[in-house]
């Protein structure tokens, strides 16, 4: 297409069919998928029209049966006075028919899978909703697998995602607003919220931020997250993402806002609290005992993952007195022939673990397990036997790496914090480690997710504030929604 949509504002349909068809052909002169089908009524003499659409984005069967056939069978004499109105209201069976005359809006529709019907001598064209592109289908999200609970996941078509969400929230209070972002992609972005629960101030701020985005294209939710985040360089996510409709529905019920981007199954939810990094959908679908255990384990694994290698480096390098004599001797024996320092060895192992993890994720499914075995067992064991690395370091790094896998939402933070803490421990020992931990806590507390404090759930020490952050309380106790909500009462008890 030549130019951007904004170039076609204030340009209107002329009413001359040949001229309008030429105008559209000129606009799409470099697009081989544009189809223009001219139609004349069989029974009449003065009806000429043209259908313009993009091949592959419309449902051909529906187009034939609901549009082309009725048009060709039309008896023109009966409706000569207002032909466009008659075609719109009585003739066409498409899901939705909208009169439109501005080029920018028409082009937006065509690019989103609608068909344009131009009628000769009519200055109003009709936009026909005959979208019919192929989609991947509803599958369980690979990254958010659960044992118990709903299995469906979002897919790339935003309209289908909205339908899935609507099926969960059958209330007229569910508000869905459409905006378009991206100068060239003109991506459809839907802002969803429950009108009675949402914090209007946050909503306004998010809408403002979205309208200020001035980027070529939006291909995934993360483009938007990074564009509108108040802390774009933060290691911690300040916006939630999920592929699960049940999670989005649950978050909307807590007064959050969801942003659905067309073309990606990832849905953004705002505001996002620190404690959400430790929550799993499954916590709510099984006994609260198991849910709470899982959550506490995740907090523990976060500390374990970022601190264990650093603690190992600090103690073995600068504070060997903290270890029992027999363990010191074992570590020294194991390390005796290793040519690298403990710090270089640990840093190297952390990087190698990350490489193995990345390759395991990117590999085709049938190669992945084989690679894990080769990487984990063969290379690991061979490296220890060849005295390139020592067994204690391998164990510590593996433990830290496995603990880190419990927290998929904190992948980046865990990896970089692990490195930072190792370096601090190497230079300053336990003093550096604890100073780093205190600075990290201060940093987390200072973060905000769109007006909402990142650690809001942990600010107040009470059962109600801890009920869904540190542990997963039974539903009977979860009386209130999160504190950022304007309508805090979730359920009333007599």
């Amino acid at each position: 297409m030549a130019g951007n949509l904004s170039d076609y504002r204030n340009k209107f349909i002329s009413g001359n069919l040949a001229q309008d068809i030429k105008a559209f052909k000129d606009i799409f002169k470099n697009d081989a998928t544009l189809r223009v089908k001219q139609i004349s009524a069989r029974k009449g003499v003065n009806f000429d029209a043209a259908l313009i659409y993009i091949d592959g984005m419309v449902d051909s069967n529906q187009l034939n049966e609901a549009v082309i056939e009725p048009l060709m069978e039309m008896d023109v004499e009966k409706c000569y006075d207002n032909l466009a109105d008659y075609v719109e209201k009585q003739l066409i069976f498409a899901r939705d028919v909208k009169p439109q005359n501005e080029f920018a809006k028409i082009l937006e529709g065509i690019l989103y899978g609608e068909a344009l019907l131009l009628i000769n001598e009519s200055k109003t064209a009709l936009m026909l909703d005959v979208k019919g592109w192929r989609t991947r289908g509803i599958n369980e999200p690979e990254n958010e697998r659960i044992i118990q609970g709903p299995r469906e996941g979002f897919e790339e078509a935003a309209l289908l995602n909205l339908a899935m969400l609507r099926r969960k929230l059958q209330t007229p209070d569910l508000c869905i607003e459409l905006t378009r972002v991206g100068r060239r992609t003109n991506t459809a972005v839907f802002i969803c919220y429950l009108g009675e629960l949402v914090n209007r101030k946050t909503l306004r701020k998010i809408k403002d931020s979205l309208s200020k985005i001035n980027i070529d294209g939006i291909l995934d939710t993360n483009y938007i997250i990074e564009e509108i985040s108040p802390h774009p360089l933060s290691l911690f996510k300040t916006a939630g993402t999920t592929e699960r409709p049940d999670v989005v529905a649950a978050r909307l019920l807590e007064g959050r806002i969801a942003v659905i981007v067309d073309g990606t199954p990832m849905v953004m939810t705002l505001p996002y609290l620190f404690s959400e990094n430790f929550q799993s959908d499954e916590d709510y679908y099984q006994s609260f005992w198991l849910g709470s255990l899982g959550r506490i384990m995740r907090y523990f694994c976060f500390s374990l993952s970022i601190l264990t290698p650093a603690l190992f480096v600090a103690i073995t390098t600068l504070h060997p007195e903290f270890l029992p004599t027999s363990f010191v001797i074992t570590v020294l024996e194991q390390r005796a022939a290793v040519p690298f320092s403990i710090v270089s060895e640990t840093l190297g192992m952390v990087l190698i673990f990350e490489i193995l993890k990345e390759t395991g994720v990117r590999m085709p499914q049938n190669i992945g397990p084989a690679l894990s075995i080769v990487g984990g067992l063969v290379v690991g064991q061979a490296a220890v036997e060849a005295k390139i690395i020592s067994a204690p370091t391998l164990i510590i790094v593996a433990l830290s790496g496995i603990a880190g896998l419990m927290l998929p939402r904190l992948r980046a933070a865990v990896f970089f914090l692990r490195l930072i803490f190792i370096i601090l421990a190497a230079f300053f020992g336990l003093y550096g480690l604890f100073a780093g931990a205190i600075l990290l806590l201060m940093y987390i507390i200072s973060l905000k997710s769109y007006d909402t404090e990142y650690t809001l759930a942990l600010n107040k020490i009470s059962i109600q504030s801890f009920k869904d952050s540190v542990w997963r309380a039974p539903w009977k106790i979860m009386l209130n929604r999160p504190l950022f909500n304007k309508n805090i009462i979730r359920q009333k008890r007599k």
Binding site: T316, T317, L318, P320, E321, T325, S326, V328, I329, L332, E333, Q334, A336, A337, F340, S341, I342, V343, S344, L347, K387, I422, I423, A426, F427
Partner: protein, 182 residues
Amino acid sequence: MKKLFIILLCPLLLCGCNQRPQEYLITAIAADYNGGLYTLYYEAVIINTETSGQKREILTAGGRTLLEAVEKIERQATLPLLMSHCGIVAVGNGITRTKLLGIMKYCKENRDITLSVQFLRTNNPEKLLKTEPISSISVGYDLVSLIRTQKTNFKNRLFEIYKNPSPVLPKLSLTEKGYYFE
């Protein structure tokens, strides 16, 4: 940006320099006093880098004062001494109460020797340290384990001794079958 990159890279490159050298891991100290001379014995464990195995060495030095003996032993040691794992100070019969308090004061002032060090008396400290250890580690390590199993019988840890100005140390006897507390 380049400066920031270099600042970030420096710690990564330099942290590898912070390597612990090979050192003597001191697990026990024995002291005796005869003919106006303090004699010190350090039981040291050293890890052999070639075989990755450990070996035990007894470092000895004498001096007219305790500090002189300590300095001599430190001077003649070919590797740095790691004192933080010394769990036992065995004193011979030549160490009187005053001299014992001097040794304790030294241990207290030396930050590397932990406050959980155990004191005991034996007839022949040199022979005690030179005995073949029961475990694969050292005599000092064995003695710490032995005291741990019998700790309800003793109240002679260093901090307790300082509360009590006239300590009575547990006496360790050495026989052909091993050592035991009297």
